[in-house]
Homo-oligomer: 247 residues x 2
């Protein structure tokens, strides 16, 4: 069952953009003036389907989502994790055809904004246009970091790097506190994000716990020593662009 309504504040998007550059009151008004529909999705539902040709782009308001590709032999790869405030398929505005799908890892809410509306707002504010562009470009930077982890980091550093990344992104979205955040995702899904087998995720998690940098109980992740974990995982937060600059 899909719930749809028109009431939804786009505050998470404003918050996310404001982390990277000042967003004026006029720009906030433009954003809040975007026509959109709201959907509530349950864990496992697709927000956007592979091969579809979206005419609207999808913004996550709450919950965790992932981009995933399923190969012919049934193997699955998650190529990105998204947190509230992320415009998960903004790139569909230009790509036209989705080469992957976006799924809900937890129950979540999303706002769908017609491409026509995005173009209208970008015509009013080229700065907002650049901020939208920026958000797709940050997604790309995160993907490069994943490629690096996958190719050249040990299994525990790969996982540790992901934990550091998630923590900073969630903290920026005010969804983390004191090194702790909730990440209600099964180890099998983590496996698909890391490119590991399920068993290997489990053992890597145990290795990481043994270092004392991280505690992970149920869906609560606690970073006990961020500096230590970051050094161990060779994590450099520059690529997240959590810096307010004129763009």
């Amino acid at each position: 069952m899909v719930h749809t309504s028109t009431t939804a504040t786009l505050q998470p998007l404003v918050t996310s953009l404001s982390l990277r550059d000042a967003i004026s009151a006029e720009e906030v008004a433009l954003i809040e003036g975007l026509a959109r529909r709201r959907r509530v999705l349950r864990k496992g539902e697709e927000l956007v389907s592979q091969h579809s040709q979206p005419v609207e782009s999808c913004l996550v308001l709450s919950g965790f989502t992932a981009r995933e590709v399923v190969l012919a032999d049934g193997k699955r790869q998650i190529t990105a994790l998204h947190v509230p405030g992320d415009f998960v398929d903004l790139h569909a505005l230009l790509l036209k055809i989705m080469d992957h799908s976006v799924v809900a890892l937890t129950d979540c809410e999303a706002a769908y904004v017609p491409h026509r509306e995005l173009l209208r707002v970008m015509a009013c504010s080229s700065h907002l246009g650049r901020m939208f562009w920026l958000s797709t470009v940050i997604d790309g930077a995160i993907q490069r970091a994943w490629i690096t982890s996958s190719g050249r980091r040990s299994a525990s550093a790969h996982l540790g790097h992901l934990i550091c990344e998630l923590y900073l992104r969630l903290d920026a979205a005010r969804l983390a506190e004191g090194g702790r955040f909730t990440f209600p995702v099964a180890q099998s899904e983590l496996a698909d994000a890391l490119g590991f087998s399920l068993v290997h995720v489990n053992r890597t998690l145990q290795d990481l716990r043994a270092t004392g940098f991280v505690s992970w109980k149920g869906s609560v992740v606690t970073i006990l020593d961020f500096e230590g974990l970051a050094a161990f995982s060779q994590f450099d937060p520059t690529y997240l662009n959590l810096v307010k600059l004129p763009r």
Copy 2:
């Protein structure tokens, strides 16, 4: 020794953009009207340095380049390969700080366009602005494909997938002919792109040759059976967006 001059046609860029959407005569004029400086780089030189804050973006006119990250322990990961016509650090227009460097894998020529010039042209043509955005978003799609290869494909399928991708990209740039292209890159560099050890690249290449899909002698790569290689590597070219569509 760095050679610099101001004469350089940006035709490779026009060709690349024209693959994805019609580019009008006016738009071509706008592109050719971009102020820029030209540099000739030798194999191994850096086009753009990690941690730098570019005020111009770099377009490859000829030769192969790569984005690379070097970790503290000396391990290297190549996160993207670029072919002539690619705007390799267009994203620096928004990211401001480079989280990786771009290096020349072969001797090559590049044009550097000041960000101010890009903003000027985008103000004249919002369509060109979207085409620039598109090119960064295609880079992102390629990166997702790399993540998928790295995480969920066998070593030979990973390499096979990369060969299919390079072939189509080079073919689109008119740098391939009859399944054959020149790729003067050492196995050690291929290793850094695939996230393999050098020895493993060598053996994977032998496996792939044994399938009969590919011949790779010196720097000449010949795809003997594209359909077979694509099926074997689960290669679906959709993500390359080599389709002319209104964007």
